[in-house]
Symmetry: C2
Subunit: 162 residues, 2 copies
Amino acid sequence: MALMTISIQPIGVIRTPYQEPRDMPIQGKFDPTVQGRAEVFPEYAQGLKDIEGFSHLILMYYFHKVADEKLIARPFLEDDYHGIFAIRAPVRPNRIGFSIVKLEAVEEGRVIVFSEVDMLDNTPLLDIKPYVSYFDSRDGVRNGWVEKHFDSGQIPQRARLE
Amino acid sequence: MALMTISIQPIGVIRTPYQEPRDMPIQGKFDPTVQGRAEVFPEYAQGLKDIEGFSHLILMYYFHKVADEKLIARPFLEDDYHGIFAIRAPVRPNRIGFSIVKLEAVEEGRVIVFSEVDMLDNTPLLDIKPYVSYFDSRDGVRNGWVEKHFDSGQIPQRARLE
């Protein structure tokens, strides 16, 4: 199975104000004033039926500006290195990104306007799933190396790239 | 961009007791007694460094048993049809699956033993990300068409396929 290759095609494109990684917050939740647009290609627009009932969506996308893949990397929050599967950095095998965003509006039947933006402009969109609190919220979570950066109750300074 | 093709390769394989979709709960959270194994291929094992600090992981995988892609489909929970991006069904463009699972142990440096299993045996594994409550839990969520099935506080009967 190691040699199996899966081909995927974008279902749309994500437009945001962020042209460079350094402009972006590490998680969109930390800068809720910014809006983005997930423009679904017309041939997939029918798949958006009933999406307006959800306040939050899961967007999956392709880290198109990343050239290399690493197994050990440094997260934005600290200088220590961790395994790529223990951090959320884009320099990862298969370069699939994942964000939870807040649905603000659906325009023209195929454009999702959203807040909590943390992706670059022109990011290829791969999938949209409804965020369901009964499935996706968890209690009693241990947050590994991330925990120490949030235990003060404040958003860490390095949650935005310098 | 509509014609762009992205090639991805599995980083491992997921082993579970579920050979057929009808055996499986719709979300692993609803049958916490079952365990699965995410066997990361040896060449990616280094990427698991420090993953043990997290209680929950996000697994991304390929719905390998799905042949067709639909834009409108019926979810397991009810008989009404919805857009594919408003449900979690596998018959979706790009067929990328997403589950939050509970990390139980890491064995032999490359096998993640987990509970909250909702994928078929031999599912190709595409990525692992740490579940971080500060990023991934949301309050004040509106759950669209799903809400009515959970508002009694009980797990719906159809949360398991018949």
